[in-house]
Symmetry: C2
Subunit: 236 residues, 2 copies
Amino acid sequence: MRNFVARKLNNGAVLRESDEARLDELVRNWRAMPARTDIISQGDDPEFVHAILDGIACRYKILPDGRRSIMDLLIPGDFCDMHIAILGRMDHSIGTLTPCRVAHISRPEVEDLLQEYPRIARGMWWSSLVDEAILREWLVNMGQRRSDRQMAHLLCELYLRFAAVGWPEAFSLGLTQEQLADTLGITVVHVQRVITALRQDGLIELRDRQITIPDIAQLMEFSEFDPDYLHLPPEH
Amino acid sequence: MRNFVARKLNNGAVLRESDEARLDELVRNWRAMPARTDIISQGDDPEFVHAILDGIACRYKILPDGRRSIMDLLIPGDFCDMHIAILGRMDHSIGTLTPCRVAHISRPEVEDLLQEYPRIARGMWWSSLVDEAILREWLVNMGQRRSDRQMAHLLCELYLRFAAVGWPEAFSLGLTQEQLADTLGITVVHVQRVITALRQDGLIELRDRQITIPDIAQLMEFSEFDPDYLHLPPEH
DNA sequence: CGTTGGTTTGATGGTTCTCAAACTAGGTGG
DNA sequence: CCACCTAGTTTGAGAACCATCAAACCAACG
């Protein structure tokens, strides 16, 4: 089992063996969570910082009328809540979408990590800035593109993010259409129509409710995807 | 002339006189910039960190087809590019929307500030996290609300953000309809229709192309505005 | 006094939502 | 093993929202 946290941070900082060893230790405390379960809820002031080791989670808010808005997808290697120590309470929730393995690290351990492991601290800093850049690109995506391009753009991003942590299997996405709808801000019905359209154009493939990408370059061109905002090292 | 940077940071940290004095010094280097001018352009690796002292600026990207997407509005007290030292190159541009006074602070000065003034450093850290929270709320706003609510929500946010730095004049917004359109991801024509509708409902007032808010509570209710995400101290 | 940038208004069309219902696959209990 | 139930997917018809295109209007400015 590889350490996806270390792999992710390695994109923004050059870690040494001692760094990776420490991360391996910290990541040893984890628990399995079923799909659709909150890791942290809005209003919490949690004691632990969490990292996703396996599965897909999301940041989300529930609107007054009951709709859910997903503002970020968290994949293996992603931290959930590094910021909570400063802001105090959570202004949104974090929950699993698929079954997940979630590591929990105590606040003192995080403090120690940031103080004593400067390369890791730099990687964390880099990581949170990339998260912000992703958020900005989502804003562009939702504001300016039609929903088929939106969907394609999201898939391109996930493809690259999974690749950046060296996801072992070929990329395949097992989210439900409702989860995709809440992410893109469109209805389930329309997600369905967009997916069938993309499938008919040969841009994606669908087997057992899993989306795969036959030709990433083609999908990137279709969605005007520019990977610049992910700030990945050149080889990706 | 008050120091809006200090006022803003005071919302997230308790500054002392020495802190404010240092900020006063740093902010002394500024230049006036006309409207519609880039402070930093995409691809730059700038030498200075900038802060808005007066006027309104924005983060934006230009899409391949020429459209502009505004992803953040920067008001007096806001820093533009604290993150650039880590990420290297800018993945978006920052430009003025109205005439601005912009302070520029050298990288060594910023380093010193973060090292030697821990309360300021904490305020900066808080500030960047709030920026991220604002970005998330914009995503919710654009994804889930109709354009009249979107507009109202944006106006509520700006009202509170200006209030949080103690903006001297009563709130009034002097952006063009095109600038608002690029921010909300809708067309100029539709901005026009939304504005007249809000005006007819008495939710906003319009004089000399300046939008004012007669009753903020009413506008907040209309747009389902929950100020929680701004993480302001209770008095606001 | 023409030019320019911005606002306002109208008509039409496309994208996406809403409502409604059928269908599929997996799981559970009789 | 089958009947039922549930969550998720698929399809259709009509309406709402917003975009597009086009043109008039207005104020500031040289």
